[in-house]
Amino acid sequence: MRIPHPLLGLRDLREFTYLGDAALIDRPEATADEDKAALNAHVFLRDNPAGTHRELWYHEYGDRSWLVVTRDTRTHEILGAELARDVALAAGRDR
């Protein structure tokens, strides 16, 4: 598997480490007691689809950027990769 890094081009799988579902970017604030269900879902529950999956990869042995990679979990075909920073900014987060 090679990941098309948006800045560096195709990079080998072994330069990256994997975190999981890209929804992990959207951590709920969960300061009040009633938010605990949302926090539990964020930390522990996953969609885990067989098919297209948006997921977080870290270019640890490279430029140390976080990427959001879109990949088919049935075939390992990579459908796209963006900088996680751009994804977070586009979603209205400050970083």
Partner: protein
């Protein structure tokens, strides 16, 4: 038809014309008392124990492919009970005890071979950790022996004892651990369950659940609707997909785990040996092949094949601990899809849907658990209460903070 030495001789002398198929191939009935989704080791064992130990009748096992075509036929066949935490270790020791009596109970040769599982240690700190683990094993009624370097050398002289980076200082041995012929486990449980009247229905994929007023009423399948007030799901690898049809999200990611077999060699490796400084474990099958594996690939996958970095990592681990295998040629490699749970431990519990039960999250360690998993899942389905050895495997343990995290990695499935 009972298997025995007498029968073997008689069939051998009469041209082997008397053997019959091991189980029937029934069409699905319109309704059952209990449906088990998944005809792998755990599902078949569950059906068997439901009938044999809990006296249940009108049971069907639904399998989307062929019997035993999933992880029960894709694992590296190791059995052991060398866990540490209280929620785990008694369960796995229960499983090992069931393995010890399995072949007599189901009248099937599963080639249960207690040739020992040896975990090597390479430092003082690791020895202390293994001593602690061994004591935890003994407390649960299991067996464990802490070996020094010379003890290990007598057992396995071919190891690289003086490796500059990872010298071998000794090992933790569980003499009762070993290997089992994995396909025979599926076949043996299927035959035993079939003899007790369980309908094993292959090529029958569950495509939905019929749920009304919070109760399960039956399952939609590729071969029509089948009614049942009690449905147990044991489909590790695909648990998230199946339970999504009941509206549930699980604390599980699906990952690919690779395994490897070399060409057949003369007997060389006495039992199961694991490298303590990298992830590599190996045993030798009765046919002579070296069966070995290592880490999961580490990203969500349903592909049943992995990538080369893990192949390289496993090979490096093998070469570091036993350089003699370097000239053995690889015969086959394959991948299986495993349920990686958020704490590395399984889930055997009721669900929010009444009558719907879940057996999932086996990570890379489901095979050794097969008999106990079936037994305790049957207990849960038959009585509505968790079995004493599996009472910690609750679905809500994550939000309640009662995780069973042997490795202490947190909610990061690819690190367990």
């Amino acid at each position: 038809m009972r298997f025995s030495a007498f029968r073997l001789i008689r069939e051998g002398l009469t041209g082997n014309r008397g053997w019959k198929p091991l189980w029937r191939d029934p069409a699905p009935g319109p309704a059952y008392d209990h449906i088990i989704v998944g005809g792998g080791g755990h599902g078949l064992a569950t059906a068997y124990y439901l009938a044999a130990r809990y006296g249940m009748r009108r049971i069907a096992v639904l399998e989307k492919g062929w019997l035993g075509g999933g992880n029960v036929g894709r694992n590296t066949t190791i059995i052991r009970s060398n866990y540490m935490l209280p929620g785990n270790q008694p369960f796995y020791e229960f499983s090992l005890k069931l393995w010890e009596g399995l072949e007599q109970e189901i009248n099937f040769n599963a080639m249960v071979s207690q040739r020992g599982v040896l975990n090597l240690y390479h430092s003082d700190a690791q020895r202390d950790a293994y001593r602690r683990r061994g004591n935890a094993m003994i407390l649960s009624g299991a067996d464990a022996r802490l070996l020094g370097r010379e003890d290990v050398r007598r057992m396995a002289p071919f190891l690289d004892f003086d490796n500059a980076r990872f010298p071998i200082r000794g090992g933790l041995l569980q003499p009762r651990g070993g290997t089992v012929r994995h396909d025979a486990v599926a076949w043996g449980y299927a035959r035993a369950a079939d003899r007790l009247g369980v309908d094993i229905i292959q090529n029958c994929e569950v495509t939905g659940f019929r749920i009304a007023r919070g109760r399960v009423e039956g399952v939609e399948t590729s071969r029509g609707y089948i009614a049942a007030p009690s449905v147990g799901v044991a489909v590790a690898g695909a648990s998230s997909q199946v339970m999504a049809m009941a509206g549930m999200r699980l604390p599980i990611e699906s990952h690919v785990l690779q395994a490897f077999v070399s060409e057949a060699l003369k007997p060389a490796i006495p039992g199961v040996i694991t490298f303590g400084a990298g992830h590599f474990y190996v045993s030798q099958s009765d046919k002579g092949g070296l069966v070995f594996g290592g880490d999961i690939d580490g990203y969500n996958s349903y592909a049943r094949r992995g990538n080369l970095p893990v192949v390289e990592d496993v090979a490096e681990g093998g070469m570091a601990v036993m350089p003699m295998i370097g000239r053995a040629r690889l015969l086959r490699m394959w991948g299986g899809i495993v349920d990686m749970s958020m704490d590395g431990s399984p889930i055997i519990d009721r669900t929010p849907v009444e009558g719907l039960f879940l057996n999932a999250g086996w990570c890379y360690g489901g095979f050794k658990a097969t008999p106990a998993s079936g037994h305790v899942f049957a207990h849960l389905i038959a009585t509505g209460q968790p079995h004493a050895t599996a009472s910690a495997y609750r679905l809500d343990r994550f939000e309640r903070g009662l995780v069973i995290d042997e490795k202490g990695m947190g909610a990061q499935p690819n690190l367990h």
